[in-house]
Each structure stands twice: as structure tokens, then as C-alpha cells.
């Protein structure tokens, strides 16, 4: 598995992957933070229409600098979904999978190496995003008139907690990308299915299912990023997400193990 990981890391060090993946995540993180802070008013503050409303009090709390990231975590998740899906589908579309499986026929090792490498990549991307947001959130808040006095209280704990929750949530989106990528083996179809589900299908289901919608993957992953919501506690969100991940991994492993390499 270590060999597969080292091999995968060489391919992930591809500058275009690094720059586009991390760069896009940082850009979206900044965008989310800026929108939430700039649209803040004395009453209700900004935020996506379908998400929990963000109040000025929330923004001025100790973890206020991460409220934008937490509430728009789906955007970062989509980047992770795309990167993870492409990591799988590009092996098939390029034909590289032939060389990889021939060199290491124990396919679970290849998959494990890929998952660990992508986990590292995603953790790095969210770390850079968190760091950039940490640096720029205060000046933006200043311009938007959002108080930041409480932000420095217990800063280290806030940053570590915010980073871990954010990373965990984004990684879960990545696993969805891995799953869809393995099933479809097509970058375009994988991304379309992922985005379609997350941006459209889950929203429609949310309207139909009402309170039961909190059990859907997107809602559970989002609840982890915000440290729990009124609908779902953090612990429950982790357990529900874990169930989705186990199923996704099981299907991915079995599919990869059994499928012929015809690429």
C-alpha cells in the first residue's frame, strides 16, 4: 500500500492538479467568507437561502471568521468531489489503469494508496484555505463593520476545531466523488451526477421530505462542518456520514475488485 501511495503522490504533485484544486478551494473559501461578512447587517446576516440563517451575533462570536466557510462548505465539497472523481476517472480515460493494475494486481492496495494520497491532498487544500481565510477575514470584517474582538479568544482551539470539522466534511464529499467516479469511469458524468445530486436533487428531496431531509448526505456533511445544527447534533452527523461512507467505500472496492480492465 505504501508503494501505491508513493506512486499516487508523484502523480498528484502534478502542478496543474495542485494549483487548480487548492487554488479553487481557496478562491471559493474567500468568496464565501466575503459574501457572508459583507452582506451582514445588524439583524439577519448573509448566507445561502437554503442554509441556516447567519446572524451578526454568529459572525461576531469566537468562530465568526469561519462561518462563511462552514455555511458554504458544499462549494469546497464540490471541488473535493471533482478532484477525487477525476483521480479515478483519469486513470481509466488515459489507460493508465492498465499499467497500474498490471504492476500491482492487488487492486485494494492501489485504491488504498489513492484514498490516502487524496486524503492528504484534501487536508492540505483545506489547511491552505483555512489559513488564507484566517488572514483575510479580519480586514474584510473590519470593512463590513463586523466586530472581531471575540475572534482572538481561544483562537487556537477555534482554528483547530474549525479546520478539523471543515476537513472532515470536505473529505466526505471527496468519498462521494471517488464512489461516483468508480461507478461511472467518466469524468463528465461523475461530476454531473455529483453536482446534480448536491445542487438540485437533494434540494428537491429536502422540500419533499421536510424534516427527514436532514438525514440526506449533503445535510449530514454540512452539519459536521458547522459543528452540528439545530436539526442534527455533531455526533449524529458523524454517525450518519460514516454510514454513507462505509456503503460508498464498500461499493467502490467491490466494483474495482471485480471489474475487468477494458480501458
Amino acid at each position: 500500500m505504501i508503494r501505491a501511495l508513493r506512486s499516487e503522490l508523484i502523480r498528484l504533485r502534478n502542478p496543474s492538479t495542485l494549483l487548480s484544486g487548492i487554488g479553487l478551494m481557496v478562491f471559493l473559501g474567500l468568496l464565501a467568507t466575503t459574501i457572508v461578512l459583507v452582506t451582514a447587517t445588524s439583524g439577519e446576516a448573509g448566507g445561502p437561502p437554503h442554509a441556516n440563517r447567519v446572524t451578526l451575533a454568529m459572525l461576531e462570536a469566537g468562530d465568526g471568521m469561519f462561518v462563511g466557510l462552514q455555511n458554504f462548505v458544499g462549494l469546497l465539497g464540490i471541488v473535493a468531489l471533482t478532484v477525487w472523481a477525476i483521480a479515478v476517472t483519469s486513470d481509466y480515460s488515459s489507460g493508465l489503469i492498465r499499467l497500474l493494475v498490471q504492476a500491482e494486481p492487488r487492486r485494494w492496495r492501489l485504491l488504498a494508496g489513492k484514498v490516502v494520497a487524496l486524503t492528504g491532498f484534501t487536508s492540505l487544500a483545506t489547511l491552505v484555505t483555512t489559513a488564507v481565510v484566517l488572514v483575510v477575514a479580519r480586514p474584510i470584517a473590519g470593512m463590513a463593520g463586523v466586530g472581531t474582538d471575540a475572534w482572538t479568544t481561544d483562537l487556537l482551539r477555534t482554528v483547530v476545531e474549525g479546520y478539523v470539522q471543515l476537513t472532515l466534511s470536505v473529505l466526505l464529499w471527496g468519498v462521494v466523488g471517488l464512489f461516483v467516479g468508480m461507478i461511472t469511469r467518466s469524468t463528465g458524468i461523475a461530476i454531473a451526477i455529483g453536482l446534480g445530486y448536491l445542487l438540485v436533487f437533494e434540494g428537491v428531496l429536502g422540500l419533499l421530505l421536510d424534516s427527514a431531509a436532514r438525514w440526506l448526505p449533503g445535510a449530514a456533511f454540512g452539519a459536521i462542518a458547522t459543528g452540528g445544527t439545530a436539526d442534527m447534533a455533531l455526533g449524529t452527523a458523524v454517525v450518519v456520514s460514516l454510514a454513507y461512507v462505509i456503503v460508498a467505500f464498500a461499493v467502490t472496492v467491490i466494483t474495482f475488485w471485480r471489474r475487468d480492465i477494458t480501458a
Binding site: 508503494r3 501505491a4 494486481p105
Partner: protein
């Protein structure tokens, strides 16, 4: 020692039988040519042996290990299957290093194989800048990475210029002479003829011939080439020979008759009796291409494959070669 052994190996894709009850044995050392029309099952056979495809029936071993456990022999095999596959934005060296890491191979070996295929000076360039021929060389370098005892190359000379083809041919010969087993599939029969000691010929996934190349050519029988004085007589001349009981075929303004050189006088007489004057009559050395076309029905595999019942039409030679042994 048997490097590859198959016993009634079969691989189906739905109704299509890509490899059909294939019995094959390839010994250690030498260059083995794997030939057949397009769609005859060459690539499928290689993929099944490498563990990329699971067989639908039968059994096979590579280095005496069952193909259901390819990890038992993966480290001893290098392969190039169809077009070479690399990450375009990564350099040739980085692409190979990625594969070397997976196999636990040192970076020094990466530079060695780049040297062997003549890409050492271009190693830093992204593979997307490579021509088809250079990509092919890079693919061969990847196959050579594990210093393999068995090398399986599917169309290795694709995209190479004539000088490149000769280089690769020499490389294959050298590897074969070193005691490695090189299985090379190609539709360039002249290349197979020049590089290979032994031949495996398949059509519709079934074995047509397996054995020394010279044996196959000898099996085709002695031939005589008859050139009519007037080109327009060539078809009529072929008909004359056929009606006299000699298998004849037309090509390049001449008629090639399957008959021993000792019958030249009779051949000449038959032509004269039909009123055709011959401008040349000489012994004809049969090429692999001629044998191939004769055995495969002179038809492209893509067009000739019968729908559904693939492999239903198995020539007599296949029956004769039911269990042919290739000892390279």
C-alpha cells in the same frame, strides 16, 4: 520450462467469444510473434494473462502460477498494451518514476530504461510534447522497468518511423537473445518475420498455428511464380492452373502456384497449351504475409468475423495444432 500455458482458455464479451478454447504453451527465451487479423483476440489474450480481464472458462498459468493470482508473477512481467498511457503534463521521467515507485524500483533503473529506448535526453519534457513514436518508446521503457523475464508488447512499433522500427526490432532480438521471453503482437508481418523465432497465429480467438516460424512457412508448401507475357492474361492463367489442380493466386502481375519446383515444366506446358506465353517462371519463397492471408481467409478480421458464432469456422490447421508447443 513453460512460461505461458493455457488450457481451453476462453473469454467472452456477451455473445462474442474473443478467446476460444485456446490451448497454448510458450517456453522460456526467444521472441514469439502473436499474429492475427484485427479483432482476432490478441489483445484480449494478453489482458487475460496479465490479470486485467478474468477468463470466462479454461485455465492458464504464467510462470506456473494461475492467472487468478497475477500478483504471483506481476513483478516478472513487463507489458505494453495497445497505446501507451501516461499523464500528459508530467515529464517522461516523472511518469516512469510514478510506475517505478509502485513496483518498488529505484530511480536509477528509470534512467537506464530511458537510455535503452533513446529518450534520456528528452526525459524532462512533458509527455504531451512527445510524438506518437516517442510515446511508444516511453511505453516500451515502462514495460522494461521491472527488468522482466517475460515481456508482452502489443503493437510496439505503432507510430515509429522506419529507423525506429529497426531499433525496436533489434532491441527485441537482443532481449530474446538474453534469455528473456518476448511476446510481441503486431500487424506488421514483415516485422514479426524479421524479429521472431516462433509464431502464434490466432483468428476469431482460436489457435490457427503455434510453432517455429520456419515450420509454418514450410507448411505452406513450395511455390512457383509464373509471369505471363501479357498482363491481361494473369487471371486466365490462374484459372488454367486451378483447373489443372494447382492452388493458384494472383498478385503483383503474376500467378503464384502451390507446387514443387520440379513441376515447373508441367506448369509451363499448361500455360502454353492455353495459349499463354510466360515471360518468367521461377521458384517463389513464400512470405509470412502470404501464409497469413491464406490461413486467415484473406479477409480483414473486422469485416470477416461471423456474427454471434465466433470461432465456428476453425481451419484444419487449428485441429492439427490442438496442442502445439512453442519452444523458443
Amino acid at each position: 520450462m513453460s512460461v505461458i500455458h493455457t488450457d481451453k482458455l476462453t473469454r467472452r464479451f456477451g455473445d462474442i467469444v474473443a478467446v476460444r478454447d485456446l490451448d497454448l504453451e510458450i517456453g522460456a527465451g526467444g521472441v514469439v510473434g502473436l499474429v492475427g487479423p484485427n479483432g482476432s483476440g490478441k489483445s484480449t489474450l494478453i489482458r487475460v494473462l496479465l490479470g486485467l480481464l478474468k477468463p470466462s472458462g479454461g485455465e492458464a498459468t504464467v510462470f506456473d502460477a494461475p492467472i487468478s493470482h497475477p500478483s504471483a508473477y506481476a513483478a516478472r512481467i513487463g507489458a505494453l498494451i495497445e497505446s501507451p498511457a501516461f499523464i500528459p503534463s508530467l515529464s517522461a521521467r516523472t511518469n516512469l518514476r510514478s510506475l517505478a515507485r509502485l513496483r518498488g524500483i529505484s530511480n536509477a533503473r528509470v534512467d537506464e530504461v530511458l537510455e535503452v529506448v533513446g529518450l534520456r535526453d528528452r526525459a524532462r519534457e512533458p509527455s504531451k510534447r512527445f510524438s506518437l513514436g516517442m510515446k511508444q518508446r516511453l511505453g516500451i521503457a515502462a514495460a522494461l522497468l521491472p527488468d522482466p523475464e517475460l515481456l508482452m508488447l502489443d503493437e510496439p512499433t505503432n507510430g515509429l518511423d522506419p529507423a525506429g522500427i529497426v531499433e525496436i526490432r533489434d532491441l527485441l532480438r537482443r532481449l530474446g537473445d538474453e534469455g528473456r521471453t518476448v511476446v510481441v503482437s503486431s500487424h506488421l508481418l514483415s516485422e514479426i518475420e524479421a524479429a521472431c523465432d516462433t509464431l502464434v497465429m490466432i483468428r476469431y480467438g482460436a489457435l490457427l498455428f503455434s510453432g517455429p516460424l520456419r515450420e509454418l512457412v514450410a507448411q505452406a508448401g513450395e511455390c512457383i511464380a509464373a509471369v505471363p507475357e501479357h498482363l491481361e492474361d494473369v487471371e486466365r492463367l490462374a484459372a488454367v492452373f486451378s483447373s489443372a489442380g494447382w492452388p493458384a493466386r494472383v498478385g503483383d502481375g503474376r500467378v503464384v502456384v502451390t507446387a514443387p519446383a520440379s513441376t515447373s515444366a508441367e506448369v509451363n506446358r499448361a500455360a502454353a497449351q492455353a495459349g499463354i506465353t510466360l515471360s518468367a517462371l521461377r521458384p517463389h519463397e513464400v512470405s509470412l504475409e502470404e501464409v497469413f492471408l491464406r490461413m486467415t481467409g484473406e479477409q480483414s478480421g473486422d469485416n470477416g468475423r461471423p456474427a454471434g458464432a465466433i470461432g465456428a469456422e476453425i481451419p484444419t490447421t487449428a485441429e492439427k495444432s490442438a496442442k502445439a508447443k512453442v519452444s523458443a
